[in-house]
Amino acid sequence: MLNPKNWVTLFADYLLNYAFFRVRDRALAEDLMQETFISALKSQHTYNGTANEKTWLTAILKNKIIDYYRSKLGKNSKLTDSIDGNTNNDFFNTETSFHWFEKRQPQDWNNSDKAIETDEFNNTFNDCMKKMPEKLAVVFSLKYIDDEATETICKEVGITTSNYWVIIHRAKLQLRECLEKNWFKA
């Protein structure tokens, strides 16, 4: 049985946090949460009682987030966007059979195993994640926040498997470099 009179008290904060972790924008997260309640009211008749109220509302929100992701992937954002707005986005030199460009070669992270346990690392990590281009961030959050299978992600946002790997590859190269520049060398 649905009880919309209690929705805000019981689920507003939960849905807001759920959305925020996936879209990284407070105002947008609030909008998505609000739209979820309105859509849920309009489709009350589709609720068949098999899922609990919270799960049902979360599924509606999830669909709204996917719609938002699709719109992001469809528009202007290019695969070649980068964290630092650097126009030269190649990590590998085509003229030397795809060796690393010298200034982009990974450097040794001393004691990195222990270092990543610290709060400072967490902060830098979060900053680098925030700076990640939308297109990469969308796929990254489906993979790492929702832990979805590759095929599911591709179907949801309408990309091919090889596109998926290009995105993940680029995201990891950029994230690694961002951490090195902003934390390990700081």
Binding site: T9, F20, A29, F98, Q105, W165, I168
Partner: protein, 91 residues
């Protein structure tokens, strides 16, 4: 592409395969090619090690994020939202 890269892979391919390996999407043959490349290329070996750390960190964050509840909606907004829902119910 030079013949040597058919055996050794390019650094671009080796880093891509590293990402695939983290998600268990690498073939037996690719895995061997990757291992050989990592033996001879210290930069890709560092990428391998560091991106594994990132992968672990991301996986850990996923569990924490899904359980945390740090943001709260303002009380005024909550009241307004409930009012909107109630109005919709009256229709």
């Amino acid at each position: 592409m030079a013949f040597i890269h058919k055996i050794l892979l390019t650094c671009k391919d080796a880093t891509l395969l590293t990402c695939k390996k983290q998600e268990n999407a690498i073939s037996f043959k690719e895995n061997i090619q990757l291992k050989i490349h990592l033996l001879v290329c210290k930069f890709c070996a560092m990428f391998y090690k560091q991106s594994n750390l990132l992968h672990q960190h991301l996986t850990k964050m996923q569990n924490e994020n899904n359980e945390s509840n740090t943001l709260q909606l303002d009380e005024t907004k909550k009241t307004a939202l409930q009012f909107q829902i109630d109005a919709e119910l009256e229709k």
